[in-house]
Symmetry: D3
């Protein structure tokens, strides 16, 4: 490679300076899931991005689910995955499998982060009493060991950040009965981001963001105020599976998180692209007063 | 209950004072396994003991295996448990199951400790790079992802103790290839006790200790010096599965652990009995010069 | 002793767990006096109790008087004890004797605590300017060097607790004239408990508690709200020497101390009985809203 | 007062600068006793000196006895002071009085220091287990509760210095039997100075120092090396009560204290004169190699 | 010198005790300038005073200008000093010279302080972004690189005080254009004193203070309330160059500085005279409610 | 810019990961001078590089000279630059100018670093007594206020690094006479690097490195062991002005600095190129045993 090529690369590093300066010491929660979790190539790139954030002074926290892997193991164990209103019916055998599978996925991420030179520590929502849950009650039937976050005890996360670990969280919490409950990973990520006072919360999804017209690729909304978001839901512009995602984002912003991002996890290095360039990708949810016109 | 009964109970608490004073702030590693792990009643009593140690100023660390539970899941998954020289042949599918099952067992212990009012945090040997392993090579064949401890990085344990957590460790470490390797729990407990400078190391076993004559219940050896231990192995007095256990104890003593105990995990509250009474139970391995005649 | 006896003892320790958990790190001020101070057997038991509290994570502080010992020395020195309205007339020779005798009693407690393996440090109300007093003025005559607490400077107590000492306080404070003044030990204990933000304050007395009918041993009041207490004083149910004691308790509760206990110091291990069992002994003064019906 | 007078005073303060700079943060142990303790005027001046040292950055520690006051109280109590080889025969009644009287003297000093604006804390050799003693055995008879320092536990002094207190120590220590023992104050001061790594140790005495010829006031020895000192003892130049004093000094120097001073406590502000001027007063004991020729 | 002379000197040190006690740990900002800066003898005395303050527990900060020295160098460089309304017209060449000359003066002070045994660190208003400025706009013309303090970032001063340095500041700050701007030293001293929460601010001037009648040396005002000061300005009693000085003082008092002093820098040891004696020199500006009648 | 371009840039950042990991928390001293100081474009790039190092976890320290700027001001002041054996004859007027000019250059760097979002603090070798010097004596004549480093007091640098400042040092130290002395910047950088335990020391020069044959651009030596370096000097391969530079490097390596680099300051981003790529530029001096064959 010619010397000029190297100099050009140095210039790229220098371009990152103002972004590094801006977010130095800030906490960022990354909900990791979807395609970025299934494709080995994408997985590595996401984790590289997060490790870089750690090295340059951010305090990233990974929260991950593992829905597809769980379904695979449920089948493998001879059980039939069963959903009511999109929620997995989670009997005792299933929750056992859920924590096992999520633990395994967690371990893989811990190993990957370590191989890149950064200290990681995997925690469930039960470690240090991180996530206390209420059993989720829906009218359509008993869905078993599924919970909603009742309270977050962020001390364990603060302890790990202070000791310079990258915390990697999987969303199984403790119920009042002392038993494990599965929590939706998006909900867990949002609750942790709020409780810990994160500057940013990023959801890695399999979509490019929110569109005014789902059929028009040019209609992506770059910035979305929380009131505007609620209006779009009422008007039906935001619909289907996107509704709970957006509601999660809205709650996080209302809970004090400055910027919430819906990123396309299928895009290599989407995390760095969002943070280290002025190329707005995905959709950013924020306070209405801060939306740029 | 009469007032006198209460006063008697208070006396019992007071009797514990000198023992509490003696071990205040000391680290104790407890290898938890065997019957004490399978029987719910015994399990609760062991964990209560350890939680009490934590509350009165000790710094306990639990290291646990899960052999029987692993075998159960191996069969459940349609695989056939396969051993060479007593070592589980651990192919890629098996190691995956191993970390899943140990993670599940670990979570149960974390929940149990929390229910008793103490903060716990479960860690694998991969978290914070705690246990680095070499692949175990035996002549009789390739046993796959089984490792020997190459190096212990105790920082993560120190960090957790400093932040007042009870660390609960399961022995899956990282190999040079970045992959998970199963480690014998006794070996892991011994290696951690040495690396961290533990005062005590206790193995919960399904035996009452070491006997001069296995058929004579009155011949239990209360205290065993390390040279004496090696002599007894050579002479065949200590034999079979007890040999690696005792060798582990010997190594720990030589590595600086003051007292190593082989306790009978089938005895309710065996940990408290050992520590809070002058009733010597099980067999204690120590430096020859410190054996009481 | 049989193995079962040992196991039973271990069970007793385990029963204490929830109480230890509940009060971990909390400050408890114990006013030590009366019979529990005169009887060597009782004295040892009280100090054992307090040392145990220290070892299991409480932060106890002892405040003690020494009225009978002072009277003994006054006589021994050829002076005549002289009281006005129950208050010792304390001339210059007497206050000199007071601080000498209280200092001696204090030293005995310091030695006793050390013999049980805990670090103690004796302080007067003059050390670190702990207790600043106003001269006590009563109409019936000049009672000399007797003071009321004007201000507590709790820094010295915080410093000693931070350095892990058990502070043992005797109530001689400094007046505006830079001279020593004797303070009622109950008053000093209450003032310190308030100033330091104690969770609990316990008075060791020579009574079983407060009774609705002093002649009916079954009429002891277990829990007493502060308004109820004041009403009982007005109604004459609480009378005599119990009035200032109860007023002290009321002030402490109003000053932020959660629970104030009047315990029977003649009962062996009364402190442990109160704290480590659900056997309510003595009378507990608390906010009216928290009285259990 | 004229402005010039004020300016002259400022010049005096400035002259102290190099001495303040030199000893900043250094520990100095002052054995306080003799006339400087009996005369109220001298007492105040000594304490002012020490308080000033504290304020300008030194870390002074006071160790005091109280021999004459003790004798006074012994007589007052109807007992007869009794000495064997110059050592007070200290039965149980006497040691009780000793700790009472020393405690009273200690309190006076604490109050005096506080009145000058500095935080003091009085400690006996029993607080924090500061002075552990062996019973002193002499051939001429049993002298009771008199001890020699066996071990100093300096932690309590470090704790108090770290928390910015001026520690004031009286030399009653704990014996192996858990009972109080009187210690010679010179010996206690020397032992503490050694154990704590003091820079300086100063004995306030009723003599102007050591003389080559006791009858020639011009023959005072300003600087005395430890070997020279031992030679002078052998030669009989140093004799009588001066021998144990000098031996104490020699031991302190050999134990690592840089400079040991015998000062004339009858001289107003003798401590400041020694430290803040180049006027060598008294006799300084130091390593032979550091004696100025 | 006779022994008595030494004792008298010790007495002088002792007289300072209550003043040392009173201001221990307090921050004092000293604006150093005028004759006290030009006369080598006076310079040394001022710096000795400040070094003494540091040694006895104050936290002094020096802020200095260097007007006359700058004018000298401007001429030396062949430029013509140019003033509009008393403000130096500061073009690019001049500001370059300003920072060079002030830096040189600063270095001299740093060396002088070090020679007296105290650690100093010289900082400009640009170090650690200490002084951010707005360009000063006056109607009479463009005066170039002259600024008013927009914001003080006191972190750098706190850091240096915590690390036990004596900070010596010269008033060149950074403008929004990233360029250096000269600031009036009185203004800089006042702004720093306010931002840092100083207890005292002292201006060394070439006047004995404020007079009711400038021709009557007996009419010096010892204490001046801020409202009274403003009234005297309106009435013309305070006039000319004294007006901005007094306004600076008023602002400092209103900004929370307890006592602001106008001292006569021509008086040797004026700083010590003010602080260590009850001889009120100069004029003290304070809250009206605190003026002594 | 296309999305792919952004992704490519992210890849460049990721490539830097292993280098960031490797040097995290390490101290690097950069001697800044030559063309990189004169050309505004190059200056900005060098400072950007160093600021980036700071942001990603390095602890850089800048040491700079200013020879050409000094000569310019000497002439401007009507003096004639005068050199003996390449050393500037530095009389009182000249040293005054030297510290002024270096201070000005220092301020510019401080402002530049701040504009990039990092806290800087400029220090001379006199601040905190950083550089103590001996007057340099050469046979050819008196060269005035020129010094050699006698002792480095690194505390001030440690303090600034701990408080997260980027220290920028100019090499004027204090002599035994309390006067300022000019020090060669290369020498100062080497002395500081050794004293502070730097991992790396980099000299920015106007050469591409050391050549075996100065006329053959392909003969650059990438790695040079210290013994080999001395041999090359003896053999005359290294000659002229390169000799003192290399001797400085040799001393630094022998003093414990791991890697010393001679970099071409004329190459944009030469610092980043050296640290963040495997493109070896310039010449690296290291222990002979660590030279790669």
């Amino acid at each position: 490679m010619s010397l000029q090529k190297y100099i050009d690369k140095a210039e790229v590093l220098i371009e990152a300076l103002p972004y590094i300066t801006k977010f130095n010491g800030k906490i960022i929660v990354i909900k990791y899931g979807g395609s970025a979790m299934l494709d080995e190539e994408l997985k590595r790139k996401v984790i590289e991005d997060i490790v870089l954030l750690k090295m340059v002074g951010f305090k990233p926290i990974i929260v991950h689910g593992g829905g597809k892997e769980i379904s695979k193991w449920v089948k493998k164990s001879g059980m039939e995955p069963n959903f009511i209103e999109g929620l997995r019916v989670t009997d005792e055998a299933t929750i056992e499998l859920v924590e096992m599978v999520l633990g395994k996925v967690n371990n893989e991420l811990v190993r990957l982060v370590h191989s890149l030179g950064v200290k990681a520590l995997g925690v469930s929502g039960m470690d240090g009493d991180l996530l206390q849950v209420d059993k989720k009650i829906i009218e359509a039937g008993d869905i078993g060991f599924v919970g909603d976050v009742k309270q977050v005890n962020p001390q364990v996360i603060y302890d790990l950040l202070d000791d310079d670990y990258l915390p990697i969280v999987y969303p199984v919490g403790i119920g009042d009965d002392g038993k494990p409950y599965n929590i939706n990973a998006d909900e867990a990520a949002g609750a942790i981001a709020k409780a810990i006072g994160a500057e940013k919360l990023a959801f890695l999804t399999d979509t490019e963001g929110v569109y005014m017209d789902i059929n028009d690729p040019d209609s992506r909304i770059s910035q979305l105020g929380v009131e505007e978001a609620q209006k779009l839901i009422e008007e039906g512009v935001i619909a289907g599976g996107m509704i709970p995602k957006i509601m999660n984002c809205v709650e996080a912003v209302e809970g004090g998180v400055n910027r919430v991002h819906i990123l396309d996890g299928r895009l290599p290095h989407c995390v760095l692209l969002e943070i280290f360039t002025n190329k707005g990708i995905g959709t950013m949810i924020l306070k209405d007063s801060e939306v740029e016109k």
